[in-house]
């Protein structure tokens, strides 16, 4: 591991994304597997140019506790499948009704609504198949990993957040409500991505606790910044529709806190994330660089 000063995050992200893409390509059914429609639809959204933030965090967390990133790869692919399924379903006409995602037509625009629902279902199911394929250390058997992922992706967290997000439209939500929504909708899966990687790397209980807190900080900061960008950026920079929150009268961090306080809140969260990483030393350099990247990202 290079020293923090010499660490090139862009190179790290590029190399890791390439590895994740290759693993996803290998682990997911080929387009030609019958029925081709569903496998084309699954792959269309998986390979639509996502930034692979969750798999990168999963692999970097494994590295931070001294594990071999390869041990976490099926888990990294699993969290990307969950993330992609949630985007496909969120974009449906009956939910956020988005036509554009990462600069490309959304899944239902290309394959129709019925297939888009099924492609999401299939990616969600595939995620658990991938966890079952992983070979974690004895301390964290597959049972533990499946429980962790199912809790984060289920009706108490990720799906709860999506429901709360729908229910926050057309009404004034409090700061606490917005925070709860985003802890569920965004932070839960980011946190689990990190936890799964740490467990694959045989983290000690105290290491796992610190990385969980890092993940919550990072996940919440990610959403604060997403809200700020939705309110201030352009469709060209973002590669997706902007002002969606305004259009839907959605309560967001900027609407309840204002832009300046939202920026400060994100900075405070990232500062706490760095604090959690201290005891890991240079092995956590990628995680530290990613935290800074979150704060300064433009899309």
């Amino acid at each position: 591991m290079k020293s923090p000063a010499a660490f090139d995050l862009n190179q790290y992200l590029d190399q890791t994304c390439t590895r994740v893409d290759a693993a996803l390509d290998k682990l997911l059914p080929a387009e030609s597997v019958p029925p081709p429609t569903i496998h084309k639809a699954m792959r269309y959204s998986i390979f639509a140019g996502g930034k692979r933030i969750r798999p990168v965090l999963c692999l970097a967390a494994c590295e931070a506790v001294g594990g071999t990133p390869a041990a976490a790869m099926p888990l990294a692919c699993a969290v990307e499948c969950i993330h992609t399924y949630s985007l496909i379903h969120d974009d449906l006409p009956s939910m956020d009704d988005d036509d554009l995602r990462r600069g490309k037509p959304t899944n239902h625009k290309v394959f129709g609504e019925g297939i888009a629902v099924l492609a999401g279902d299939a990616l969600l199911t595939e995620a658990f198949a991938l966890v079952a394929r992983s070979q974690p250390p004895k301390r964290y058997p597959v049972r533990v990993l499946v429980s962790d992922l199912a809790l984060a992706a289920g009706s108490l967290r990720l799906i709860a957040g999506q429901v709360q997000d729908l229910e926050n439209e057309e009404r004034h939500a409090s700061l606490d409500e917005v925070k709860t929504t985003h802890l569920n909708k965004t932070a839960a899966l980011i946190t689990t991505s990190i936890r799964l990687g740490a467990m694959a790397g045989n983290a000690s209980p105290s290491e796992l606790k610190r990385l969980t807190r890092y993940g919550q900080d990072l996940g919440l900061a990610f959403q604060v910044i997403d809200d700020i960008l939705d309110a201030t950026s352009t469709k060209e920079i973002m590669g997706k529709s902007v002002r969606a929150d305004e259009k839907n009268n959605k309560s967001t961090f900027p609407t309840v806190l204002g832009l300046d306080k939202s920026r400060q809140y994100a900075a405070d969260l990232i500062a706490d994330a760095h604090k959690q990483l201290k005891p890991f030393g240079p092995r956590a350099t990628p995680l530290a660089a990613i935290a800074d990247f979150f704060l300064t990202r433009k899309n």
Copy 2:
């Protein structure tokens, strides 16, 4: 276990359903758990009067190999969650567009399409959480059970069947195509319900093989009979819309084989199912009685 002659299937089904309902009520989040909307929607469809065929088969398979049915209960609940999720999504306007299911309005008719999509997603996710909670014997760790369920519920089987079903509308499918569709759409989950129960009961490899074949026979027969009932029964008896296949110009067993040959095919499948059960003796009495019940059911 009573002798086959004295076995009262209705009593067995009633008692087992009561136990499954109690377990589902205990294992699923209460309606009051935030956000209540999603938990109400999940419970609405789970407790909408299903016949619990898959959980009953799961528990009966566990019993057939000498296991304690209680050991298979979380798995029985898991397969019912998968079945219910698939019904909620199948009924959506973008799929089969059904307003009525088991005599009650479908999930999206009550909660709206967005919540219905999410309720299905949540039940699918919950299924894997339930598998992770089970305590199977050493021969079949949770990893194996998750793999089996994810394969059956995924894009190669259950979801493949749903895609093929959509694609068989408005075109003439061959007998082989109809058979493949139904092996995927119906038989895969029924077979896995039985396999999971058998594994929870510590089945030997040869027992598992026979029960897998029994499940495939039963699953295919179930769908043949479903197609016959859709073509010949009434909405009042079925508790759901009938002639749906005709309305959608769907190829079914009756349309490709005719009604008489379809009935004979179902009878042949059930005869083979009985053959598979022979070595299990009286412990398989419930499974044998369920096979006969499948053949003679009226709704």
